[in-house]
């Protein structure tokens, strides 16, 4: 019965082929270090879900950002849990993505034919750090304000284009409401879309080239 429905669905969608390529494939025997990539993916999904929930109450303006976060912590059912998870998963994701990169590096898994997988991975690492940097400002508390003041002024010391970068990040010479909305836009739209797209390419390449085998002593 079920198989009849599946075959009907497959006739129209090719779903069985997709399943076979993604799940029903042979890969070399791998160890626990190989779970770091999927752990990165999992943490990103956690961030997407909790982030969307936070955006229901969060208001990106200097007048209301702090209070809206305060409200999430004390007024919203399980708001503290959602924010707590988002907060910790952010740190954990940076750590796990970095460890995943180290795994790939020490196993030489960035070599032929997986060079492009590595390049997309570097984009993901930078975008993840960008998420951390832009997200840090959003609660508009002391830590956020001063860390971002220093962070953006560091960007301002780049020779030649520093001043331009500084103004582009801050939307003016000082940290202001414009900075907050800019960081918000980057944090909830631009960077997530980059990450989502590049994860797609990354995973396509991982499946296409297959997971590398653990290198042997002589390899």
């Amino acid at each position: 019965m079920a198989s009849k429905w599946i075959s009907r669905l497959d006739e129209r969608t090719g779903i069985v082929g997709v399943y076979k390529t993604v799940f029903d494939r042979k890969i070399p025997k791998v160890n626990w270090w190989f779970t770091l990539g999927s752990a990165s993916l999992f943490l990103f999904s956690v961030q997407v879900v909790t982030g969307i929930l936070l955006s229901v109450y969060y208001v990106p303006s200097p007048d209301h950002a702090y209070d809206s976060v305060q409200y999430i912590m004390t007024g919203v059912q399980f708001g503290w849990l959602i924010r707590g998870i988002h907060h910790w998963a952010a740190s954990l994701m940076v750590l796990v993505v970095f460890l995943h990169m180290l795994r790939v590096f020490f196993y030489g898994a960035y070599k032929y034919p997986r060079e492009i997988t590595w390049v997309t991975g570097v984009v993901l690492l930078l975008a993840t750090l960008g998420m951390g940097f832009t997200g840090y400002l959003l609660p508009w508390n002391q830590k956020a304000y001063w860390a971002t003041t220093v962070g953006t002024s560091i960007a301002g010391t780049v020779p030649g284009i520093g001043d331009f970068i500084l103004r582009a990040l801050r939307g003016g010479t000082d940290l202001s409401a414009v900075t907050l909305t800019r960081f918000f836009a980057a944090h909830v739209w631009m960077l997530p879309l980059v990450i989502l797209t590049v994860i797609g390419i990354h995973l396509y390449l991982v499946i296409r080239n297959g997971i590398s085998a653990v290198p042997k002593d002589h390899e």
Binding site: G84, K111, E115, A155
Partner: protein, 402 residues
């Protein structure tokens, strides 16, 4: 040998001559790699379920870890952003600390080396790694240089991070009102310190006494329905932050050389709103914390439980440093007992103590009636008297320790 095979052999021979292995993998090596990889897969496992089961297990463990971290550690409360507070020590997220620390090695005109050149170089190298590192070997033992360099970098990053944590001085502890009730109670304390000397303990106003520069000025009440219905929170905030200079009220916002942070001012506004505005309902928790203790018949009053809340609300506003008070400070038990030009103002067991006489609105050598503008409620005076008679104890058990 078929035509195709000859063709391939030929090709392999050609490429082998061109690149002897030190540069990019040649075609033969690539083919060799793919063949080995095919065998590895053959002896390998099924992605579903063999591999994915490990992935799911790790993700689930991470999920539990996250719930644990969110529940038992949570997110540290922080005061609201205050652009005027330049004493705040900036602290980036921990994973940027190593960069922050790295910059310290490039002071002054070399700064751009640390901010632009090194990070730029690192990112470029990271992107180009697969094209720069053309060693076909994969096991780290056969890639001593690459593995050693990366290990050194990672150890360096960890060391810099530790150094940053160790060398940054701890932030001055700031209390953050989390809930509305906490905010109201914090606001009440701040109101008592900063506002009471002019506006009265309950915002009743009246004639100002004992305040430099404003002596004898009469203030209208700020706790009236009129006042509360026509002033929004934003207006109250602005009045406190900026003051009303033509009327004599100084600015209190730190940005205008006052003493209050934005969070402090918000707390005071919340206290005013929830205490005096009959449309706002005081949260239960705040109500309990803000009502003055009542003495039960036969109970012995002590400083911590009964007297301190009264002192805080009615006296500290003037009896703190920088005010005209004959150096009688009342911020702690010790100050209440032992400070002042006419000390001791409290003699345990003696109702002729300066403090009691002044509360009873006598004019004595130490000064006039206290509080100057309006007497304390009789039951509060009685409570203080009973405390003095009982030996002015600090805590619930035992008499005063002088």
């Amino acid at each position: 040998m078929s035509e195709l095979e000859t063709d391939q052999t030929l090709q392999i021979n050609v490429t082998r001559k061109r690149s002897p292995g030190t540069t990019a993998m040649n075609e033969e090596e690539k083919r060799e790699y793919q063949e080995k990889y095919r065998l590895a897969k053959l002896h390998g496992e099924k992605f579903f379920p063999d591999t994915i089961y490990k992935d799911v297990l790790i993700s689930f463990a991470l999920f539990l870890l996250l719930i644990g971290l969110a529940t038992f550690i949570g997110v540290a409360p922080e005061p609201k952003a205050d652009p005027s507070d330049t004493s705040y020590i900036p602290r980036p997220e921990w994973y940027f600390l190593f960069l922050f620390e790295l910059l310290k090695f490039f002071p002054g005109s070399l700064e751009w080396v640390g901010t632009a050149v090194l990070p730029g170089l690192a990112v470029a190298l990271l992107f180009l790694l697969p094209f720069i590192d053309r060693n076909p070997k994969r096991h780290w033992k056969n890639r001593r240089f690459a593995a050693g360099l990366m290990s050194a970098i990672v150890i360096g990053m960890v060391a810099l991070t530790i150094r940053a944590v160790v060398t940054t001085p701890p932030q001055a502890e700031a209390t953050v009102a989390g809930t509305l009730a906490e905010q109201i109670v914090a606001g009440q304390d701040l109101y008592a310190v900063h506002c009471v000397e002019c506006h009265g303990a309950d915002g009743e106003g009246g004639k100002i006494q004992g305040v430099q520069g404003l002596e004898g000025v009469t203030l209208k009440p700020i706790n009236s329905q009129d006042e509360m219905y026509t002033r929004s929170d934003e207006t109250l905030y602005a009045v406190i932050e900026l003051g009303q200079q033509t009327l004599g009220m100084p600015p209190f916002g730190r940005a205008y050389s006052g003493e209050l942070s934005p969070g402090d001012i918000e707390s005071i506004v919340a206290f005013m709103r929830y205490t005096w505005d009959d449309r706002a309902e005081m949260p239960k928790a705040a109500e309990q914390a803000s009502t003055l203790p009542v003495l039960k018949p036969g109970e012995t009053p002590d400083y911590a439980t009964h007297i301190e809340p009264v002192v805080k609300r009615y006296c500290v506003s003037c009896h703190r440093p920088g005010k005209e008070n004959n150096n009688y400070l009342m911020r702690t038990y010790d100050e209440v007992m032992n400070s002042g030009d006419h000390k001791p103002n409290i003699v345990p067991g003696n109702l002729q103590s300066n403090l009691i006489r002044m509360l009873r609105r006598e004019e004595i050598e130490a000064g006039g009636p206290m509080p100057p503008s309006k007497p304390l409620k009789p039951e509060l005076i009685e409570m203080i008297e009973r405390w003095v008679i009982a030996g002015a104890p600090e805590k619930a058990s035992g008499p005063a320790t002088k």
